[in-house]
Symmetry: C2
Subunit: 354 residues, 2 copies
C-alpha cells in the first residue's frame, strides 16, 4: 500500500535512547484524517514501553498517545473534520467496531482487541502503529476527536489519556453535584481527577502521603486534603466517599482506603497494573457492599464528551512544555515525580532540528 515517510522520535531496540528516525505511515485512505502533530503529551506508559517494563516491544517504537494537531488531509469519506480543523488522537486508533463493547461505545474494551496508538497492529498497513512523537499521523476519523477552540492547545494534549482515564470512571459511577469523591495520588492522572470531579460538582478530597501536595491540591480545586499516613485524619473520613479514584502507579495497600468508602462505595484502580498487596480483606467489602474495580481510559464518544465538557468549563491539564530533544531528561524527572503535572512536547522542536 502507499506509504509516506514521516520524521519521528523513537527507539530501535531495547536499552537504546530515543532518537530521530524516519517511519512509514500509510497514505490517507477513504475514511482517514491526516494530522500535523503540534503537541504530544508524555504519559508514564511511554516511559515504561521505552524501558521495556511491560515485556517485548515492536521496533522501531515511537511512543505518544496524547496527540493534538491540525488536519492537513482527509480521505473522500471523511465528514466530521476538514482541513484546518484542530484534532486530537488518544490511546486508540482503531477497534473491531462490531463486538458488544464497540456497539456500546466502549472501544477500549473491544472484545477483539482494539488497536492502540503505538505498538498496535495496523490492519491497513499490516505493520505496527507509531505514536505521537512524530510530525504527522494518519487515523480513521472515527478515532479522531474534535478539540475545543477556546483552550490552550498544548494543555489539551494530556486530556486524551490522563483526562479520559479519570473522566470515564467519574461518569460510569455517576459522579455529580454533591457526590463525595476522593483521589489517591497527585500526578498526571490525579490532578485531572481533581479538576474533572470538581467540574462535575463533586466534593473532592485528595489523599496524599506528602504534606507538600496540600497547597497545590487546593489550588487545583480540592475541598480537602487528607494525609493517608495520619491515622486520625484517616479515621475522620471513615465511610465518607462514594467513589475513590486510585491513581497510584505502584504497588500500595488499598485496605485503608476501603474503610473510607461509604456503603455502596467503589474504589477504582486506574494507575496500577499488578497484584494487590498486602492482600485485600473481604470483611469491609461485605459489611458495606463496597467494591474494588478497575477502569481503562474511555471510549471515543466519552472522550469527545470530556473534551466538550473541558471546553465549556475551561479545564485543561497543568503542563510543562519541553522540546522533543529533552525527552530523556523528562523521563528521568518523571521517575522522581518531578513534574507538575504533565510534560508536553512542542513538536515544532522536531521540525526545527532539520
Amino acid at each position: 500500500m502507499d506509504t509516506k515517510k514521516v520524521k519521528a522520535y523513537g527507539t530501535e531496540a531495547l536499552g537504546q535512547d530515543l532518537k530521530e528516525l524516519d517511519i512509514s505511515r500509510r497514505a490517507v485512505l477513504e475514511n482517514d484524517v491526516e494530522i500535523e502533530i503540534l503537541y504530544c503529551g508524555v504519559c508514564h506508559s511511554d516511559m515504561h514501553h521505552v524501558h521495556g517494563d511491560w515485556g517485548k516491544e515492536k521496533y522501531p517504537l515511537v511512543p505518544g498517545h496524547e496527540i493534538v494537531g491540525r488536519v492537513i488531509g482527509t480521505g473522500p469519506g471523511v465528514t466530521k473534520l476538514k482541513i484546518g480543523d484542530l484534532a486530537g488522537v488518544g490511546c486508540l486508533v482503531d477497534s473491531c467496531r462490531t463486538c458488544e463493547s464497540c456497539k456500546k461505545d466502549l472501544e477500549q474494551y473491544c472484545l477483539n482487541g482494539s488497536t492502540v496508538t503505538y505498538g498496535g497492529y495496523d490492519k491497513h498497513s499490516g505493520g505496527h502503529t507509531f505514536g505521537g512523537y512524530s510530525e504527522k499521523i494518519v487515523v480513521d476519523e472515527q478515532f479522531v476527536l474534535k478539540v475545543p477552540l477556546n483552550l490552550d492547545l498544548a494543555a489539551v494534549a494530556p486530556l486524551l489519556c490522563a483526562g479520559i482515564t479519570t473522566w470515564s470512571p467519574l461518569r460510569h459511577w455517576k459522579v455529580g453535584k454533591g457526590s463525595k469523591v476522593a483521589v489517591i495520588g497527585l500526578g498526571g492522572l490525579g490532578h485531572m481527577a481533581i479538576k474533572l470531579a470538581k467540574g462535575l460538582g463533586a466534593d473532592v478530597t485528595l489523599f496524599s502521603r506528602s504534606k507538600s501536595k496540600e497547597k497545590d491540591a487546593f489550588d487545583l480545586g480540592a475541598d480537602a486534603v487528607v494525609m493517608s499516613t495520619d491515622k486520625n485524619q484517616m479515621d475522620a473520613v471513615s465511610s465518607k466517599f462514594d467513589l475513590i479514584i486510585d491513581t497510584v502507579p505502584y504497588i500500595h495497600d488499598v485496605n485503608p482506603y476501603i474503610s473510607t468508602l461509604s456503603i455502596d462505595g467503589t474504589l477504582v484502580l486506574v494507575g496500577y497494573l499488578g497484584g494487590l498487596e498486602p492482600i485485600l480483606n473481604s470483611v469491609p467489602l461485605i459489611m458495606g457492599r463496597k467494591s474494588v474495580a478497575g477502569s481503562l481510559i474511555g471510549g471515543l464518544a466519552e472522550t469527545q464528551e470530556m473534551l466538550d465538557f473541558c471546553g465549556e468549563k475551561n479545564i485543561v491539564s497543568e503542563i510543562e512544555v519541553i522540546r522533543m530533544q529533552d525527552i530523556k531528561q523528562a523521563y528521568d524527572r518523571m521517575l522522581k515525580s518531578d513534574v507538575k503535572y504533565r510534560f508536553v512536547i512542542d513538536m515544532a522542536s522536531l521540525k526545527n532540528q532539520q
Copy 2:
C-alpha cells in the same frame, strides 16, 4: 423490665456443647410480636459462633437466625401481623432506623450498628439477644416478615438467611431475564443462588470442583456446570458472566473467576470473611472495568420481597429436618459439607423433651 422464661438450646461457655437451658426474653412491648418458633434453620455461622471461631461471645449463646413460626402475641401498636399468622425472623431484630442506610431500607448496613438476632445488644432489655434455637422469640414487628402460606414451612426457614444473602446481590446488580449468572460453590447459599437466579430468568452456571455436584445442580435448575479445576472448561466461559455469586466460605483464589466475568461484570463475595489470597490481580479488573464486591444478607423490605417472590414461584430451600438434640451431629456433618443443603430444626423436638 418484665421478662418471661423461655426454654432454649445454647451453650454457657466456649468449648461446651449445646444443651437445654432457660433464657429470659423481654415481655411483649408496644410494637412487639411474640412468635412460637416452629422451625429454625442451621446456618454455618451458628457453628462458627458456638466454636468461638469469630472471637469473644456473650453467654449464654443461643444460635439461630432462620426462624419461622406462628404469632402468639402482639403489642397494642402492632398492625402488620395478628395472632395465628405465620411469621419469619432473619439475621436482624433491630437497627437505629434513622441513619442513611436505615432510611434506604438497608438495615443490614445500619451506620449505628444493627442488632443481630443472637449475641446482639438488646436496647430494651439491656442484655444480649438470643436466637431461634428456642421455643419463642419476641421481636419488633418492623423486623418480622410475613411468610407465604403456600410453601413448606420448614423449607422456608433457610430463606431468612441463605435466601436473602443471595437474593440481595441478584437484585442489587439487576439480574433479570437473560442475565448470565454464575454461582461458585453448591451449599446452603449456592443452592439458593441457583434457584433464585433461575427464578429471576437468568442463565445460570454452577462453578464446582466436584463432578459429583453436576446432577444436583441441574436438578436445582442450573443451565450449565463448569469444573473450575478444568482449564479448558474455564477457558470456554471466559468473559461470559454479568454477575458471579461467590458463596465459598473458606479462603480461595478468586482470580480464575475474574477472567470469566464479562465487561462491567462483578464478582460478589457473600460467603468468605477474610483476606483474598492469593493476591488479587488488578490487570483484568482494569482491562474490563470489572469489580470485586461484597454483600451482606439484605434489608427487611428486600427480605419480604424475596419471600413474596418465593411464594409466587414456589421456591424453597432443600432441607433435612433434624431434632434439636441432634445439633452436634449436624455441625459435624456441616464441617464435612455432608448436607443437602440445609439442616432445619423441628422445634417441636425441644418441647417434647420436657
